[in-house]
Subunit: 200 residues, 2 copies
């Protein structure tokens, strides 16, 4: 698939076929992530791939549970994370809902050792966008899951043990993956005119 | 260009031809950025495109100047930003050098209003990866510039005024852009085996 076609054709998919994704395809998706650039070529990004149906459902429930707590203590956590302050913080929790992983058959988390580099958060995001494009080119659907970072605050030791997260590992980005069962229309995009300041 | 070819063929370019980039191509690059997903479809990302040679050089000098100060007070700023703690913080300043924008003819900054959403930092990064792939497909080179975020700490009012940064705007990501004057070999990538934990 042509690059611009992939970039414009990728949708956030929230309905999936009940069909497993071939391991080979998942590996192709992750390889695409590995080719993203990283600060000082540190390559700090690691991936957790979850395909166990029961575990995915548990993660889904755990994220929702933590989200509900965070919603209640939003003003408190705003002290530590600027993203939670102001309008942005108020708005995001309105979108919290159950079944936030949309019964997708695969989760791919991208993360890194906390403090392993000055840019690890960015490195993970760049890799994740590569993965979402690659998945689309392979006929797969994805949806970026910002809420996944709540797992970093989980106290569910059994769940975390099953994810084999290395000590000090931070989940930075995540996407769900699967064969799409819907082909949603793209939301209207802001235009170049609306979004660019030219300094010539 | 095919998606996987673009993903694997994109290099970080640090040598550019002294040749301006056509406005139409820059717009195509930015449009690719606009098609990246954003949390709750907020589309908070805005772009600053700088093509003025003198101004680019001033930005380059300003980033280096701020970087030198930050290097000196690293342990102090580590109190506020976890990325600056530990090994990552020590290592990143070793790579600080003059001419960090490599005399590229274009800078594209991606940013958003601070606190405009819970995910604006991520949204900017996803858009930036799209732009780097699109640029490569158009025969252009890019290099992600993590240091650009130091501009958020600039006190150079005249420089900031010329960039027309809206009040409360945060530069989140940036890439330089231009016709490449080199075609570097890709650094060896970590493999899927080395980077993935499968939870099946």
């Amino acid at each position: 698939m042509e690059v611009f076609e992939a970039i414009k054709g990728r949708r956030s998919i929230r309905k999936y076929l009940d069909k497993p994704v071939e391991r080979e395809k998942i590996e192709q998706v992750i390889e695409a992530g590995l080719w993203a650039p990283s600060g000082q070529n540190n390559q700090p990004v690691r991936f957790i791939v979850v395909t166990d149906r029961g575990l995915i459902d548990e993660i889904d429930a755990e994220i929702y549970a933590i989200g509900k707590v965070f919603k209640r203590i939003r003003l408190f956590i705003a002290l530590f994370g600027k993203e939670m302050r102001g309008e942005g913080g108020r708005r995001v929790f309105k979108s919290l809902h159950e079944n936030g992983l949309y019964k997708a058959p695969v989760i791919i988390m991208a993360g890194a050792q906390r403090r392993s580099s000055a840019t690890y958060m960015k490195d993970c995001s760049l890799a994740t966008q590569n993965m979402m494009l690659a998945a689309h080119a392979l006929g797969l659907g994805t949806c970026y899951i910002g809420w996944m970072r709540l797992l970093n605050h989980s106290f569910n030791r059994e769940l975390l043990r099953r994810l084999s997260l290395p000590k000090g590992f931070e989940i930075c980005d995540a996407a769900i993956l699967g064969y799409p069962a819907s082909s949603p229309q793209p939301p209207k995009r802001k235009t170049v005119e609306e979004t660019v300041t030219w300094v010539q």
